[in-house]
């Protein structure tokens, strides 16, 4: 093959000796997350009406809703941070925030208590 050269990488290698590291010294230095990063799902429980649309839109089935107890439960180890629930929520109570969740040795669920809303009274029977 034409144009063979020797030591083509020497300049880069020598330069790299004096460059500061390309990596961040995590965990001693904090990681820098961009604003849009999909790290974990957060819920504003005040607005949640327990409609269940997030539960139905979640591809891996990480969300569970219990209407009787008014709880919203997420298994963060099943969640793949796709954002499908965020787009499905009619009340805009879900957001994806930067930053990963903690690792653990067993799968646990996070349970959130939503405001209990009175079940609408059954319509009166016409007399």
């Amino acid at each position: 093959m034409e144009n063979r050269k020797f030591l083509t990488f020497a300049r880069t290698s020598i330069k790299n000796l004096f460059r500061k590291p390309a990596t961040v010294g995590y965990p001693y230095q904090p990681a820098d997350y961009p604003e849009r990063m999909r790290g974990h799902v957060e819920i504003k429980t005040d607005n949640c009406i327990l409609c269940g649309l997030c539960m139905r839109s979640c591809p891996p089935g990480a969300i569970r809703i219990d209407r009787a107890d008014a709880t919203w439960t997420i298994n963060r180890f099943d969640c793949v941070q796709c954002g499908s629930c965020v787009n499905a929520c009619p009340k805009e109570c879900l957001t994806l925030l930067p930053g990963y969740t903690q690792p653990a040795s067993s799968k646990t669920e996070d349970v959130y208590q939503c405001p209990k809303r009175p079940t609408p009274a059954p319509p009166k029977r016409p007399a």
């Binding site: 063979r4 990063m37 999909r38």
Partner: protein, 359 residues
Amino acid sequence: MAKRSIIPFGPQHPVLPEPIHLDLVLEDETVVEAVPSIGFIHRGLEKLVEKKDFKQYVYIAERVCGICSCGHGMGYCEAVEHVMNIQVPPRAEYLRTIWIEMSRIHSHLLWLGLLADALGFESLFMESWRLREKILSMMDATTGGRIIFSVNCVGGVLKDITPEMLREISQTMDDMERELKPIMETFLHDYTVQSRLCGLGVLTRDQAILYGAVGPMLRASGVEYDVRMTGYGAYGDLEVAPITAADGDSYARCEVRLKELIQSFRLIREAIGKIPEGPIAVPVKGSPSGEYFMRIEQPRGEAIYYVKGNGTKNLDRFRLRTPTTSNIPPMLETVKGCQLADVPLLVLTIDPCISCTER
């Protein structure tokens, strides 16, 4: 005739990037034949289409592969959009194109790093991946994910790129192009690299066509073919000329990928210059009924997406033919006659993605 022996190679092997198994028939150190078997990491993702809503399936389609994720999402969405006769807004097409070109850069840099690693050139490997980190940060900032974008949806895209971000991307492309120069110089002209790659695993033009090679593997054998020329996405407005090399050896495959990086930098800059204003998605009503074949150019080559809808929210069938599937037969051809020690390198030159192949 010398005595023949068979060596099982893979699926778990220190030098293999992906779990493929080859039974290598050897005469002394020379490979006479290679018999492949795949199927070690089948996940059944195609079948899931019958269980999930067709809009939800986008998130599964893009998880078929960890490298060409954006392309899989886009290919699936475009196929469903064609079935449903949805006109995607031009801005969304441009955004998809910018993102898929970014993932091409990331994929090719990853491959170059792996190649350098296979040659034992550790510092070149690190240098390629240092550059790749820049594009990963850019993808993280624009989509929220370093690898899995989750920005495609049926009817358009979910996120817009702001004008400041577009300027930043354009700037990053300039910087990367400048920083790629010394790396490119080493890959193309270094004595060590050349002596490992030149003349190794030659696939002639006729063989490439006969065995159905796709992507850089095909173009390195001198065939001018790139699915981007069909003008899907925003490629119709951009200038895409296939990059080819004549020799068909491992060096040619490396050269094609390096030059495609430069092409992608240019395409992104061109797309940023031309991107129109407007909405990024259109509302989707109803369910798909009918079938469609969609072809797109993934970093590794041509991928085919087939969808068949029956008018309900679950599709009947989704079929994905990935580039590696079609590149395995030509790869088996290239290993014939090579030395045993060169097999890992030849497997690598097709840029294999076995988990994509098995879905």
